[in-house]
């Protein structure tokens, strides 16, 4: 790998303890200003510490163990946790929601990660965890946010547009035709954060992964190229998963003979 002659500074646990001092100062400020967030601040700091350290050890083990099934299992767990998060964010949790979210995200991130690792980067072996896990994590995380927005938006659109939907149905529209505006609006809502971040990337914010790569000694140009691919991957997978999701979700509000269900009305 091309890179700088650059000595990566390891961070000792003592260093981490010192950085905790920053949190203590922030908490002091909260105390002083009666903001009442000291507790949350400490809990957040401790959770950050424990969760990230645990993941660090886990990944270290997984990378060393280097078996394809373990890596796929981890990606599978990521998708489950992400689907649950999307579901829990919704006010209308229905039985089928975790499944359609899981399906939409598996399809969206699956296609994306496959194209990126097998066709673009051609990683060897095909499950090389140093690539597969961070890329999958990145894509799944963004699909999760996109999916949350898509479900939320289609639910609220159908509620608020039910008169319009019924007007369409009464003119002989199918359920899909009647919900078309709602489906579009859900996909747009899911895509907007991704599009925004593509617009300003590098200007307003340096993406976390790129920063990390640069910090750990990768040439900025390589880091940037990776980041470009990642941005495209994210856009693609959010588009695919929100498309699938909106199209599956709207169905719940209609009967097979193109009626809006009574609980909606």
């Amino acid at each position: 790998m091309e890179g700088f002659n650059y000595n990566l500074i390891d961070i000792s646990y003592f260093d981490l303890l010192i950085s905790l001092g920053l949190i203590i100062v922030a908490a002091g400020l909260s105390r002083f200003q009666h903001m009442g967030i000291e507790r949350d601040l400490f809990v957040g700091a401790i959770r950050t510490f424990i969760q990230l350290l645990a993941v660090g050890y886990l990944l270290k083990y997984v990378f060393a163990f280097d078996r394809w099934y373990l890596i796929l299992l981890i990606i599978f767990i990521m998708i489950i946790v992400a689907s649950r998060t999307v579901t829990q964010r919704q006010r209308k949790k229905t039985k089928e929601l975790p499944y359609i979210v899981g399906f939409a995200m598996t399809a969206g991130s699956g296609i994306t990660v496959f194209v990126a690792t097998q066709i673009l980067l051609q990683i060897k072996p095909w499950y090389e965890p140093h690539y597969l896990i961070p890329l999958a994590g990145m894509v799944i995380g963004n699909s999760m946010n996109g999916s949350t927005l898509a479900v939320e938006r289609i639910d609220s659109e159908i509620q608020s547009r039910k008169l319009e939907i019924e007007a369409y149905l009464a003119l002989g529209a199918t359920a899909r035709q009647a919900a078309r505006t709602c489906i579009r609006s859900a996909m747009r809502a899911a895509m907007i954060p991704t599009i925004n971040s593509m617009m300003v990337v590098g200007i307003v914010a340096l993406p976390g992964m790129m920063t990390g790569q640069i910090l750990s000694g990768t040439s900025p140009l390589i880091a940037v190229k990776y980041q470009i691919i990642i941005m495209y991957m994210i856009a693609f997978s959010v588009a695919i998963s929100s498309f699938i999701l909106a199209n599956l979700r709207f169905n719940r509000y209609f009967t097979s003979d193109h009626r809006l269900k009574e609980e909606v009305l």
Binding site: L171, G172, T174, H258, L260
Partner: protein, 232 residues
């Protein structure tokens, strides 16, 4: 030719364990004007929505031209039996866009016959220079006429109207009713209209079906019912 168009046999509707319609038996003759009248909460809207399958009856059977409406493809049924809602719902774009919707739903194309557009506008009492106007700019009365014109674009046999005048002032309401009466006369369109004002029934000169508490209390020609109400 006195073909019976819509028949209801023992139709009931229960929602949330509340019986809204009880055992309704009715016949809506073709080419006539039928007025569903009754106090608020009587079940008029509920009944109307069963006729084009915006809702399903909980019991009983509805026939259209001798055929169970469940056996007619629902999209086709809704094109035969058009519906105009209480509050006009206007789609984005121009009047022309709105009128093109029924056609584009069927064919995925927007090239509607200009003549059909003008025809629908005139039948519903709108001037034909309205075509390029933005539909959201219309007055409420004009919007309601637009929804009538839009329903006519499917060339229906029956038009269901759920208190189409309720968002309109008295004068505009009566003008709309006159247009509706003309539709019946000019096209032979069967009209089934919900209202709770007996005066509208007289203007339309139709058969009056009186619905109270989910049951039909009487069916009468307009003259009788009008006399009745004056004698009360």
């Amino acid at each position: 030719m006195n073909k019976t168009k819509i028949e209801l046999y023992n139709v009931g509707k229960t929602k949330n364990r509340i019986k809204i319609l009880k055992d309704i038996n009715l016949r809506f003759g073709s080419g006539k004007i039928h007025i569903l009248i009754g106090p608020s909460g009587a079940g008029k809207t509920t009944l109307l929505r069963l006729l084009n399958r915006m809702d399903e009856p909980s019991s009983g059977k509805i026939e259209y031209d001798g055929k169970d409406i469940k056996d007619i493809p629902v999209l086709e049924l809704r094109r035969r039996i058009g519906m105009v809602f209480q509050i006009p719902v206007i789609f984005d774009g121009t009047v022309k866009n709105n009128l093109s919707v029924p056609y584009s739903l069927r064919t995925n194309s927007n090239h509607v016959n200009e003549e059909d557009l003008i025809n629908a506008l005139e039948l519903s009492g709108l001037r034909n220079d309205f075509l390029e106007r933005r539909a959201s700019d219309l007055s409420v009365g004009e919007k309601q006429r637009l929804t009538v014109a839009r329903a006519l674009m499917n060339k229906p046999d029956v038009l269901l109207l759920d208190e189409p005048t309720s968002a309109l002032d008295h004068f505009t309401g009566i003008k709309l009713l006159e247009s509706i009466k003309k539709l019946n006369e000019a096209l032979g369109l069967t009209i089934i209209m919900v209202t709770h004002q007996l005066e509208y029934a007289r203007i339309l000169d139709g058969r009056v079906i009186n619905l109270v508490n989910g049951t039909i209390v009487r069916v009468e020609e307009v003259e009788d019912s009008f006399l009745d109400s004056e004698s009360i």
